[in-house]
């Protein structure tokens, strides 16, 4: 579904942050990108999403070359949903209005049907659908931005640190919601995360980045058990539940 080959990318005239990364992700799969701060995780996701244009390499979605396609066109024409790490809701709009922004291209009946389905799926949002998004907690905002990305029915979902700034309880809720999306919608989900153990708990595969390159790729379950990996990249002594 997503195929990135030999990606080199950076910002402006600066040095390359990604120095030849290749990655793939399939349908019904959660692939997480891990690594220490500054290794290029978010830059890789932004490059795949279309915020950053790669200096070299290629990106395909379902076999279609999207290397130079900007984010707004990917969302409109390539069934991509993107959930940013921060500033992910419009605070002056209500919860319902925020969600419906993601459904601009749908017919009215379809829009209403999908909105109702999302309200069933996320009852916490349903109870606050007429409230301003600025009144939501961090976790609720993250669920809201997920719901907004889902309403258009994307085939690819790109998540930039969905647990950033959340309490452990809210983090569990958000990860449960992401796992449920993979299982029920059959989507291809690519997720950058700092909370490595939580991410590996729901992911199928993982790429571990170091200094702009892929240092290791493996099944999530294998990485969870790998003591060297744990020590090098995942926080040493921390144990998964």
């Amino acid at each position: 579904m997503i195929e990135a080959k030999d990606i080199r990318a950076g910002y402006g005239d600066g040095a390359d942050i990604l120095t030849g990364i290749s990655l793939s992700a399939d349908r019904r799969e959660i692939v997480t990108i891990l690594g220490p701060n500054g290794c290029g995780k978010s830059t890789l996701l932004k490059t795949i999403a279309g915020y950053v244009r790669p200096r070299a390499g290629s990106i395909t979605f379902g076999g279609t070359d999207v290397t130079a396609v900007p984010i707004h066109e990917k969302v409109r024409h390539h069934k991509v949903g993107y959930v940013p790490q921060t500033d992910n809701v419009f605070g002056t709009l209500t919860v319902a209005e925020n969600i419906l922004l993601g459904a601009r291209q749908l017919a009215k009946a379809e829009k209403e049907k999908r909105f109702a389905a999302l309200m069933d799926q996320y009852p916490a949002l349903a109870g606050k659908k007429n409230r301003k998004a600025s009144a939501l907690s961090g976790g609720e905002r993250q669920i809201l931005s997920l719901a907004r990305a889902l309403i258009a029915g994307p085939e690819i979902l790109l998540l930039d640190e969905p647990s950033a700034g959340l309490s452990p309880l809210m983090m569990h809720e958000v990860f449960d919601a992401i796992g449920a999306i993979r299982d029920s919608e059959g989507m291809c989900i690519l997720m950058v995360e700092q909370n490595a153990f939580e991410a590996l708990g729901i992911a199928d595969r993982a790429y571990v980045l170091s200094l702009g390159q892929v240092a290791m790729t493996a099944k999530a379950s294998d990485l969870l058990e790998d003591p060297a990996m744990r020590k090098l990249y995942l926080g040493g002594e921390v144990h998964a539940e």
Partner: protein, 296 residues
């Protein structure tokens, strides 16, 4: 005194149109344009060009709008490369370059002397010509206000506000920010040029002194004081500022102050008003009504 009131109200109407133009850019879309006066100047020099070429005066309007549209597109193009603050500086620089070019060019613009002798609208209706012009300017202001209200309440208006609030998030929802910027600059440039065309035929004179950057900041003060992103507010700001500036000479006479006081007091009203409102009432006299995709 009545004629003076009609005169000030006429100018306030035209500045109200300009304030609405800036409000579309800065208020609703977050485009901090410090070069608005150059778009206005396209309208004034469009009128002068038609007059100088012996065309029908009305042809000055499309000429001015066409020049403003080109300049607006150029501004928008710059916005692809520059972040908001740098874009603002770039627009100010371009407006100054245009003013200096107009001052030093003789054949087309008349240089520093400008171009005079433009036809005055409704000149044949004396002694009611002033009232007739005010009625026209008020009607234009009302129509432009209605258009701006409809625009900002439309789906496109929502996209303008999303771009202003969270541009990166708006992109991730499929909004093409370059297109939004282009359309807003085209529409607001046309509005500013329209105001310029009417202004030129009101003063019957066009010159580079009308394009100085303090004029842009006067319009900014109208928007900030009236209420940024509130169309009614910016019109109120235009009238308030215009009348405040117009009555400064009366204060000077009443207090027996030197003539220099007038120019200085006007600058203080603009600068001090801007500063005071930015510090103590940044949303202006009539704050934006936020919330809801339609009524904001």
């Amino acid at each position: 005194m009545f004629d003076f009131f009609i005169h000030v109200a006429s100018i306030a109407c035209l500045y109200g149109v300009l304030a609405l133009s800036l409000n579309l850019q800065a208020g609703f879309t977050g485009l901090v344009n410090f070069g608005l006066i150059a778009l206005f100047g396209c309208g004034t020099y469009g009128a002068a060009l038609a007059s100088g070429m012996g065309w029908h005066p009305l042809l000055g309007l499309p000429a001015g709008i066409a020049m403003a549209a080109l300049l607006g597109l150029f501004y928008a193009r710059l916005g692809r490369k520059l972040s908001s603050d740098y874009w603002g500086i770039a627009t100010l620089s371009i407006a100054e370059i245009i003013r200096i070019s107009v001052t030093n060019e003789q054949a087309l613009t008349g240089g520093a002397q400008g171009i005079s002798g433009l036809p005055l609208l409704f000149a044949g209706l004396k002694p009611y010509d002033g009232v007739a012009r005010l009625a026209l300017y008020a009607a234009v202001l009302a129509l432009v206000w209605l258009f701006c209200q409809r625009l900002v309440k439309s789906a496109f208006g929502l996209s303008m506000k999303l771009m202003r609030e969270e541009p990166q998030l708006a992109r991730s929802l499929g909004y093409d920010l370059d297109r939004i910027r282009r359309v807003v600059m085209l529409v607001s440039a046309a509005i500013a040029a329209f105001a310029g065309f009417l202004y030129a035929h009101y003063l019957t004179f066009v010159g580079p002194d009308q394009l100085v950057s303090p004029e842009t900041f006067l319009i900014w003060s109208m928007v900030i004081i009236g209420g940024i992103a509130n169309n009614r507010g910016v019109i109120a700001g235009a009238f308030l500022m215009q009348f405040a500036m117009a009555y400064v000479p009366f204060v000077k006479d009443a207090l027996d102050l030197p003539t220099d006081f007038v120019a200085a007091a006007r600058l203080i009203i603009v600068g001090g008003g801007l500063l005071a409102f930015l510090l103590w009432r940044p949303k202006g006299l009539f704050p934006e009504k936020v919330g809801g995709s339609n009524g904001r």
